[in-house]
């Protein structure tokens, strides 16, 4: 069984010790990091510290000098780092400014990874359309989810903020997306999530997609009330939800 001491990077060890308090999560994170190389752990530490210039430099080094596979860098360096960030955010050890800083570091790394993955022709896990609902201009949570989803291998179409039901529907049809992700940060715009789902019913495509919702004021009860398929509490959970929904889609298609 992997131990904390198997992790070479001191920053990562300290982060896990101080901030990952749930036993099952800690075991999972320790196991993940114990398998990764020191350079990947350094990248992850850079992500956790929000050090975008460092992550940029290390990612280039990993690709160009060490010839490490782009997918490995993404999974073992960038996403591994964001996993700890996500937990710290969930547990209120850090707040949105810090998360934005980490996301900026992630973007710096992904700027080198993305072109390689796009050129490689790897089949995406699924197609997701993401947007903040009509009347809502906030996109922090949505952007984090998009980054995580892309990092995990989904093809994501970002509709931005203030997205009308028609725009969601057009995007689903244009991109043949199977998952719709909606975000709202205001209590006053939450009803627009229900309106969007209703528009999907009107357009006779509700059965063709899975809808996941999230955002600070959104609750599981509200998601159930509006007949969404899933509700997510944070960006890291968003990836797991999307994977679960894709797997439901596949088994429904097989019938």
């Amino acid at each position: 069984m992997a131990e904390l001491s198997d992790i070479k990077n001191e920053t990562v060890r300290q982060e896990i010790e101080e901030y990952i308090q749930r036993e099952d999560e800690r075991a999972e994170i320790v196991s993940l990091y114990s398998r990764t190389s020191p350079l990947m752990q350094e990248i992850a530490a850079g992500i956790i510290g929000g050090k975008n210039k460092l992550v940029d430099e290390l990612t280039r080094r990993a690709l160009n000098d060490e010839k490490i596979d782009a997918l490995v860098i993404m999974d073992d360096g960038l996403i591994a780092g964001m996993a700890i960030v996500g937990i710290k955010f969930r547990e209120n050890f850090i707040f949105v400014p810090e998360v934005l800083s980490c996301a900026r570091a992630m973007k710096a790394g992904m700027a080198h990874i993305d072109p390689i993955l796009s050129a490689s022709g790897v089949e995406p896990l699924g197609r997701v359309v993401m947007g903040t609902v009509k009347g809502d201009m906030h996109d922090i949570g949505k952007n984090l989810c998009i980054m995580m989803l892309r990092g995990a291998g989904f093809e994501v179409f970002d509709l931005g903020v203030d997205t009308s039901p028609d725009e969601f529907i057009d995007a689903v049809e244009e991109h043949d997306a199977k998952i719709v992700g909606m975000s709202a940060l205001l209590t006053t715009t939450m009803p627009n999530m229900a309106k969007t789902i209703e528009a999907f019913i009107d357009a006779d495509i509700r059965d063709d997609v899975k809808v996941m919702v999230g955002g600070a004021p959104v609750t599981p009860d509200f998601a159930l009330e509006m007949d969404a398929d899933s509700y997510g509490d944070n960006a890291v959970e968003c990836v797991e939800i999307a994977k679960k929904l894709m797997s439901e889609i596949k088994s429904e298609t097989r019938g």
């Binding site: 209703e198 019913i201 006779d204 495509i205 509700r206 059965d207 009860d221 159930l224 009330e225 007949d227 398929d229 019938g255």
Partner: protein, 214 residues
């Protein structure tokens, strides 16, 4: 100071902006009278044509749901079964509000094409509020879709599933409601009412508070 807002009971649905009539807001109110539940289509707008539009919506709602006028001259409606099918009613109300109603509407048939089944799905009234849903052509896809439609009606019309018959459901009032079934076949086809028993029971427990079960 005289209030202009009225005591109309409890608002159960709102169509917040009607583009067919100067963006007026049209609401559906509900109140209890004796043992019966009455509903009213209402707008606070005094714009030209607003009252006429409300009448058109009310008439269309009667055609599509089977609601009848209560003879009080104030436009209140009730189900002849004396039961109350709120979910089905509010759903139909919203659908009707979206229509241009200059020429009124007709009741929807108990038959509707289903692209996934590749044929029509048909609702048959078995009496005592029980309906059976079948595909016109027998196939596995058709059967699945008929069952999915049944589950959709269970959710949309708060019908009771019939044990042992995945394609049958019943209104708890024990009375036929062809109008409601016809109006909502379109919705039932598209509603992802996957019958997860815990979710349905849990959602009933959470979503309806004691005060909603008058």
């Amino acid at each position: 100071m005289t209030q202009q807002t009225l005591e109309l009971g409890r608002r159960i649905e709102l169509y917040s902006r009607d583009p067919n009539c100067h963006d007026i807001s049209v609401a559906l109110y509900r109140r209890k009278v004796g043992q019966s539940q009455y509903v009213l289509v209402h707008t606070y707008s005094l714009v030209d044509g607003g009252k006429q539009r409300v009448n058109e919506i009310a008439n269309a709602l009667m055609t599509r749901t089977g609601l009848e006028l209560v003879n009080d001259g104030e436009g209140w409606l009730r189900f002849p079964c004396d039961g109350f099918h709120q979910r089905a009613l509010t759903r139909t109300f919203l659908d009707v509000c979206k229509l241009v109603l200059d020429d009124g509407v007709e009741a929807e048939p108990l038959k509707r094409i289903d692209k996934k089944a590749g044929c029509h799905l048909i609702a048959t009234d078995l009496g005592q509020g029980v309906y059976r849903f079948d595909a016109e052509e027998s196939s596995e896809a058709g059967q699945k879709r008929a069952e999915a439609m049944t589950r959709g009606f269970v959710k949309l019309c708060e019908m009771e599933p019939i044990a042992g018959h995945k394609n049958q459901a019943a209104f708890s009032c024990g009375v036929s409601h062809d109008n409601l079934i016809g109006s909502l076949m379109f919705r039932a086809q598209n509603l992802r009412a996957v019958m997860r028993e815990e979710a349905m029971n849990a959602s009933r427990g959470i979503l309806s508070s004691p005060s909603q079960q008058e």
